[in-house]
Amino acid sequence: MTTTPAPADLTALTVGQELARTRHELTRDTLVRYAGASGDFNPIHYNDTVATEAGLPGVIAHGMLTMGTAITGLLDAIADPAAVRAYTTRFTHPIPVPATGSVTLEVVAVVGALDAEAGTARVDLTAEVDGTKVLGRARATLSLPDAA
């Protein structure tokens, strides 16, 4: 995992600036742990037979696990998770997770827009598995101090 140093405030950010570039290994263990933590026990996230009968390629990751994991590189980069005021995404592609081994979620967080008046930054997240985008229009709005 590599992240850039934490930006202290809005004036340290520029549109297009990359704030984080992270890789996250997803395994069946990850899915089971997320199921327990979130209370989402849909069997398509742990049972291959049920997943296949539902027309899926096999067990897939919870979309909300992907969404929750995708923002963690940004959270580390800004060093203050409390700065997040909004977070939105579309789920564009399921992530099959093999019974053994892992798949890699690759996330890049880039400053998309700055609003000095509102004191907010919009950060756009790109999340891919094997070159396929799994989230669409994933955006976080951060409330950050303006040192100027």
Partner: protein, 149 residues
């Protein structure tokens, strides 16, 4: 035989649910499950030094409470939603302030919209979370796609 979502539910707001106390243990579990490593999620002293009344919930933590609240609609046979045909389309969290352990949140469910699109039905729900005094804390908006035949 398959059912389709009943459009008559659109615009319906359910009575407010019972207050849910946000737990430090659930926050720690959720942070670990999603790889959120800040000590603010697990260390009460670090959270207090940062000005929070308790450990801080990760940004998507409220999904559990939101989904439990949505169940009163999704799992109602009268809603016409066949859960085996549901996929998650979009999700949006709006946080008016950080959510911390010890918060008592009252959830209120609204079915915002039900619309047909290309043989499928898009259903949008919103769960508003208010504190004990009635102040807005957060909103969780979910769009699910119910696949047609």
């Amino acid at each position: 035989m398959t059912t389709t979502p009943d459009p008559a539910f659109a615009g319906r707001t359910y009575p407010a649910g019972t207050a849910h106390t946000v737990s430090a243990a659930k926050i720690a579990e959720f942070a670990r499950a999603t790889g959120a490593t800040s000590p603010l999620h697990t260390d009460p002293d670090a959270a207090r030094r940062a000005g929070h009344a308790g450990v801080l919930a990760p940004p998507t933590f409220l999904v559990s409470l939101a989904q439990a609240t949505e169940a009163q609609y999704i799992e109602d046979p009268a809603s016409g939603i066949d859960f085996t045909r549901v996929v998650h389309g979009e999700e949006t969290f709006t946080l008016h302030r950080p959510v911390v352990a010890g918060d008592q949140l009252v959830p209120t469910l609204t079915v915002e919209a039900i619309r047909a699109a290309g043989g499928h039905t898009m259903v949008t729900t919103r769960v508003d979370l208010a504190d004990a005094a009635g102040a807005e804390v957060a909103a969780v908006r979910s769009m699910i796609v119910v696949r047609g035949d």
